[in-house]
Amino acid sequence: MSNAAVTAATSSRATAAGKSALARLGEAFVSRLVILIPYLWLVFFFLIPFVIVFKISLSQTAIAIPPYTPVLGFGDGLAGFFAQLNELSIDNYTWLTQDALYVNAYVTSVIVAAISTVLTLLVGYPIAYGMARAPAMLRPTLLMLVILPFWTSFLIRVYAWIGILKPEGLLNQLLLATGIISQPLVILNTYTAIFIGIVYSYLPFMVLPLYSALEKMDYSLIEAAKDLGCPPTSAFWKITFPLSLPGVIAGCLLVFIPAVGEFVIPDLLGGSQTLMIGKTLWNEFFANRDWPVSSAVAVILLLLLIVPIMLFQRAQARAQEQDK
């Protein structure tokens, strides 16, 4: 039964029970409040800030507090508003497209995030698959074990890798001691370290949607394929993988989108040699104190991510429909 039908059914029953008009009015008021409180909160703290970011990205840098020239206020009436409209400029955006540093940072971020997403999928799929085929008794424990690292600090988990990847770190010590390598590997402060950091930090985000897709799968399909003489590998590509596709899509989006704008991992593991847009924005803001340019960087980053974000939202909504 749809939600609307349930509501209609319950409310008609309530009326039949002899409810006063006043009580009904109170009920409508409460349900209005349930919607309005979180709605207004998100409009004020999530939506309006983006409008402000966009607005400031069009203003000029100034040596003042706050460090930008104010634009588009209604303080001087409508005439003042139109006068200010002329002061808006797309200088910051022109600046971003002309400076190779920014263009490179965007392109590198997208490539690094895409490679990391594929790597996370390759690492996460066998784990999720193994979990989904584990004895039913073990599954809740395995699920708990995947979620548990998520509860420990992100910063700490990234920090832990510094000690492992350093030239004199634990990985090199191990490899040198076992004689696999004779020279310490340089991993820290390279893109390899960023890949490791992203795969490690985002692995639970990949495994969980994959697991929930794979767990729902009907394994008698595989048995049927096997009975009909289909080799396991092609059974996997023809049956298992297509059926797990919603999980693959959700997992990849959950990793890719935040990874593009990631700051902590490239900063701590990538060092100064690597270039990513989250770090660029951070430096623009904290080191150069250039708020308008960092706003412009954020606006373009958001535009880059708007399609993946909308895909993610649609995937979420569809999953929700299916659960009903």
């Binding site: 509860w151 600090s153 910063l155 704008g261 706003s295 991510l305």
Partner: protein, 272 residues
């Protein structure tokens, strides 16, 4: 019927979990290292924990972080639960698509964007950066996570329970507090804990939105990490991990006890 759990499956799980847990285990082990070098073992010692408690800056930051996390998680749980109710119960109202977009987008939004945009909002409305602004920022971020957790429980909620209560004459608000809330309580509790740890953990948004006097623990740890890896940071991280681990264990034990109690009640009801 579940077919074989092959050797390949077991191997990939074992390797996967080793990958997930080994770095954390190493971090904890080396917090007890006598040597100042983080990666060379020099014998067991708890001296870094002692020096940690004499580090006033770190202690202050811990206190700020704990207060921000408790307040923001609590407010976020209320707001997130309301948002979850809105998403599951009210399928038709103006701007519903926008609303669900605003709930889901922060989950994946790069933190640098959220942090910057919130900071610019606080500057625009003339709010001084500090304890309050960090808390408001964390509420906004974590309420969306709470909403998703609670929503997934509400979707599978058997609404005939509510209908039964209302048939018996309970008003909707009373029905909510006596029927719906107890049933979705485990989800609300895990939502609170998720919000709490996210707030405890956040570096980027806190760096943008906090001001003088409101340095949080991740900000403190970050500034020390930039100067180099020391066993003292390992010790601080180990304590954080221990606090969270104890919290998770208590919550899951409480959950289990409630579950057992519920089964006992059901059996009693059937016998009665």
């Amino acid at each position: 019927m579940n077919p074989t759990w092959s050797r390949f499956n077991i191997t990939s799980i074992v390797l996967g979990f080793a990958f997930l847990y080994l770095p954390i285990v190493l971090l904890v082990v080396f917090s007890f290292n006598e040597s100042k070098l983080v990666t060379v073992w020099g014998g067991f010692s708890t001296k870094w924990y002692v020096s940690l408690f004499h580090n006033q800056g770190l202690m202050d930051a811990t206190w700020v972080t704990a207060r921000v996390a408790v307040i923001s998680a609590t407010v976020a749980t209320v707001l997130g639960t309301l948002a979850a109710l809105t998403l599951t119960r009210y399928t038709r109202f103006k701007g519903r698509t926008l609303f669900s977009g605003m709930v889901f987008a922060p989950l994946v939004m790069p933190e640098v964007i959220t942090g910057l945009s919130l900071l610019l909002l606080f500057v625009a409305v003339g709010l001084d950066r500090g304890f309050l602004t960090v808390t408001l920022a964390h509420i906004t971020l974590t309420m969306c996570f709470v909403a998703v957790v609670v929503q997934s429980r509400l979707i599978t909620f058997d609404r005939s329970l509510e209908e039964a209560a209302m048939d018996l004459g309970a008003p909707p608000v009373k029905t909510f507090f006596q029927i719906t809330l107890p049933v979705i309580m485990p989800a609300i509790i895990s939502g609170w804990m998720l919000a709490f740890t996210l707030s405890l953990d956040d570096l980027v948004i806190a760096s943008f939105t906090s001001g003088p006097g409101a340095t949080t623990l991740p900000m403190k740890i970050y500034s020390q990490v930039r100067l180099g890896v020391t066993p003292e940071i390992n010790a601080a991280c180990t304590i954080l991990i221990a606090v969270v681990a104890v919290g998770v264990i208590i919550a899951s034990l409480a959950n289990k006890r409630r579950e057992v109690q519920r089964q006992r009640d059901e059996q009693a009801a059937q016998r009665g």
